[in-house]
């Protein structure tokens, strides 16, 4: 492998939608084998686009990687189709859960095992139920009627059915109660530790993301503006203020005093 054991390596990619709209202006990042890497940023920074560029789903939205390259386990994947990329073990869990609403929970999981060995289906199912015991109790429920937390578990479980090597998680905490978010983050950590699945995590909830990730990147306007070990970013004053909502003293800052817009500008130049 080219670069010190990086499983996934995104090299300076540029992404355009409809051949005109430039969304990513040179994004580079690395995910080491067995690591958890967080990708932070505000709305519209290009986080989801980055994930879709990696998973190949971009082409489906008339997006295109116009420059740069993506390598996975030493192989170029930026010209491959979404199916080929998924077959290599990169699975994206889409933002907003996107379960198959008219199928039952277990049918949803079985769709995840579409390409797998049919004889090992029950084995995979057991694994998913081991990590998400609650899914077993609602296995025959129609997915559209499940709660948000259940659907998020189902979305991750469904991805787990494919036997992935790298999970691209797009905002797994979106719209969920804090307790459930905690639970899901714990399961992600366990999956990473016990199954050796690498994770690239996109999150608005920077506090949580920086807790479970080892390394993090901050994306703004289609560029990586900051990167470093999660612990270092946690202590970075800008991150603390803009993403964690804390001042240097650890106290909440009043909105009036923030003037965050001016300071934020500094990153863009």
């Amino acid at each position: 492998m080219a670069d010190g054991g990086a499983m996934l390596q995104v090299n300076n990619i540029e992404v355009r939608y409809h051949q005109v709209i430039l969304v990513l202006k040179g994004v580079s990042l690395k995910v080491p084998a067995g690591g958890i890497v967080a990708l932070l940023g505000a709305n519209g920074a290009g986080k989801s686009t980055t994930l879709k560029a990696i998973s190949g789903l971009l082409k489906h939205e008339d997006g295109q990687i116009t420059d740069g390259s993506i390598e996975f386990m030493g192989q170029r994947i930026d010209r491959k189709s979404a199916e080929e990329i998924a077959a290599m073990g990169i699975i994206q869990v889409l933002e907003g859960r996107r379960v198959f609403e008219h199928l039952t929970v277990e049918e949803n999981l079985r769709v995840g095992a579409h390409h797998g060995d049919g004889r090992r289906l029950s084995e995979r199912l057991e694994l998913v139920y081991h990590y998400f015991p609650h899914l077993r109790t609602i296995r025959n429920r129609v997915a559209g009627f499940c709660s948000g937390g259940e659907q998020q578990m189902l979305a991750i479980g469904r991805a787990l059915m494919t036997n992935p090597r790298l999970l691209l998680l797009d905002e797994p905490s979106l719209g969920l109660a804090p307790l459930i978010v905690r639970e899901i983050m714990e399961i992600i950590t366990r999956l990473n530790r016990e199954q050796g699945i690498a994770v690239l995590l996109v999150e608005q909830n920077a506090k949580l993301a920086l807790e479970i990730a080892q390394h993090a990147y901050v994306l703004e306007n289609g560029r990586v503006v900051m990167e470093g070990p999660a612990a270092a970013l946690r202590d970075n004053p800008d991150i603390r203020e803009f993403y964690l909502g804390l001042t240097e003293m650890g106290a909440r800052k009043r909105f009036r005093e923030a003037k965050w817009y001016k300071r934020r500008k500094r990153w863009l130049t």
Binding site: H60, A86, A87, I91, F100, H102, L103, V111, G144, C146
Partner: protein, 294 residues
């Protein structure tokens, strides 16, 4: 009363054939969003193909099987040649292409088989009718009904229990999510067209046994449109129920109203129902109302 029962029963049996064809239509619509106006011609092709095999001396069940195989091949070819490059194009473009396809197929059929009415000869099903209580039913209706039900059952099991069936349902539900799991949309579209061609083929062959084979089988195939509007464009159970209801209504209209007119009520009536349905309940009986979580 006996006439009524008679009409309803034959209606259900013919309707089951419409249900089969309608299911094929719904499948294409659900999986790929293509509103296919060439369904009548698919039915017609099936009728002629099975007729050809039958006149070559193949027993009818084998002729039907051969029709299924040819249907699958034609379905995959049609998808590959005409529709794949249209993925992501506006709906109207795709509809116009299916209109074009319907003329293309019709021309092809006339080129190969001519325009004369042909019949299955010797007749596949015996002429002696069967008595069911007070009602007398032609054997051809009964067997068509059984064949249509069997195929519907097989398709239902395919969707529920096989990974390919599940993948197709998943794709119909959320295309992007299905792709994120590595399911290929090309495979699903091709499978949808193959199954639609197969279902329409069997439907056409059964209809051909009832009425003889000529271009009018194509018009019967077009009855899927009222059937699917009635049942809901994206509902498989809706297609089946819609097909059967259309069969019954059509028969009743023919039986009771035809005497007041110079004829043709049978042909128009399903489309009158369709228009009314569109005014009253445009999503059909079973069309998707998005599941809302409480």
């Amino acid at each position: 009363m006996e006439t009524f029962l008679q009409l309803v029963l034959t209606g259900i049996m013919v309707g089951s054939i419409y249900a089969l064809v309608a299911l094929g239509w719904v499948l294409i619509y659900k999986c790929s969003g293509v509103l296919n106006l060439a369904m009548g011609e698919l039915t017609l092709i099936g009728a002629y193909v099975s007729l050809t095999f039958y006149t070559w001396g193949l027993p009818f069940p084998l002729a039907l099987l051969a029709t299924l195989i040819i249907g699958a091949i034609l379905g995959i070819l049609t998808e590959r040649i005409f529709l794949r490059r249209l993925i992501g194009e506006p709906v109207l473009t795709i509809i116009m292409v299916t209109v074009g396809l319907s003329f293309f197929f019709r021309g092809l059929i006339e080129l190969i088989w001519g325009t004369d009415t042909r019949v299955f000869h010797p007749p596949v099903f015996p002429y002696e009718p069967v008595r069911l209580g007070p009602v007398v039913i032609g054997q051809v209706y009964l067997w068509s009904f059984i064949a249509a039900l069997a195929l519907l059952g097989i398709l239902a099991a395919f969707f529920r229990y096989t990974r390919w069936g599940l993948a197709m349902q998943a794709m119909a539900d959320d295309e992007m999510a299905a792709m994120s799991l590595g399911i290929s949309p090309k495979f699903v579209y091709a499978a949808a067209w193959a199954i639609a061609f197969m279902a329409a083929g069997v439907g056409g062959s059964l209809l051909g046994n009832i009425n003889g084979v000529n271009i009018s089988v194509g018009y019967l195939g077009l009855l899927v449109l009222p059937a699917v509007v009635l049942g809901g464009l994206n509902s498989i159970p809706g297609a089946i129920v819609g097909g059967i209801i259309i069969g019954v209504l059509q028969n009743l209209a023919g039986g009771y109203l035809d005497r007041f007119t110079p004829g043709g009520v049978k042909e128009i009536f399903p489309f009158v129902v369709m228009t009314l349905m569109l005014l009253i309940k445009p999503y059909g009986l079973f069309g998707w109302v998005r599941i809302e979580r409480v």
